[in-house]
Symmetry: C2
Subunit: 163 residues, 2 copies
């Protein structure tokens, strides 16, 4: 337990030390990246990644409005998460909630001018940050490889239907 006993690589089920190192590099780097991007978005635009995802979906939506459940599905969130988040965004004036005409249970989420403005201001710096922190860090080959790795992982993960 305390020594690095030579692995019986006869092939039971545990990753080797090298595989584990790669795993940690991978997941920690992804985290560091997400965290840096979050911090830039926050300081440059006063938006969280969640805010950005919601505003992006809304600004692409017909009439800048969506049914709450469609929005949740579109960005892959649980309804409960969206509901909490919309509450916070509504307090800040980024969105507004209206009753749905078609279904009295439903709610429609509407982009406010304030929200649209915040999104416009955030888009360019955000995309630039992605380019700086991700795209520019990799060679074209590495970028392609990253894409393939992601696809392979997702395929192995997702047959059960997760997103």
């Amino acid at each position: 337990m305390t020594e690095n006993t030579p692995q019986r690589r006869s092939g039971r089920q545990l990753p080797t030390a090298e595989q584990l190192r790669i795993w940690r590099d991978f997941i920690e780097t992804a985290d560091a990246l997400r965290s840096e991007l979050t911090s830039r978005l926050q300081t440059e635009s006063a938006l969280s990644p969640g805010d950005y995802a919601v505003l992006l979906a809304l600004s692409e939506a017909d009439g800048s409005r969506m049914r709450s459940s469609e929005l949740a599905a579109g960005i892959g969130w649980q309804r409960s998460r969206l509901s909490h988040h919309l509450g916070r965004m509504e307090r800040r004036g980024l969105i507004r909630r209206e009753e749905s005409a078609a279904d009295n249970r439903g709610a429609e989420v509407v982009l406010t001018p304030t929200g649209a403005e915040a999104f416009r201001g955030a888009t360019y710096p955000h995309l630039r940050a992605i380019r700086e922190l991700f795209v520019d860090a990799l060679t074209p080959d590495q970028l392609a490889a990253a894409g393939e790795v992601a696809v392979a992982l997702r395929a192995h993960l997702g047959p059960s239907g997760k997103v």
Copy 2:
């Protein structure tokens, strides 16, 4: 804004649609992976990734005890985060806090038998899950590529010293 206007690729600063797709695949997959692993750890061992990190560091420490600030540095957390987390773990009996003999300001974090037991029970399933979800999903080449991508991203990100 609503049409996909042909990008002036004359090379300003924004990622192309393809680069953006890879970025999203990458970051969302990493998230999905983290989330699935978290969920397994939780259901199989009733531990969060944070708990696991703390218990791992403590169980490797001399005497199963560490100064709080060393622990924070070891797992790369802010002190405040650790403090909050230790509070929750202490309530569950996984660790204990003692005053440091050497420095009356300091605190020592001690692994309890309960905590040691929880960690023992969690280790094997957790490593197996990493193998199943990550290692087994990739060809050896892809695994190596994932490692290189992580290193390149970190290098580009970290010269300033982030972790």
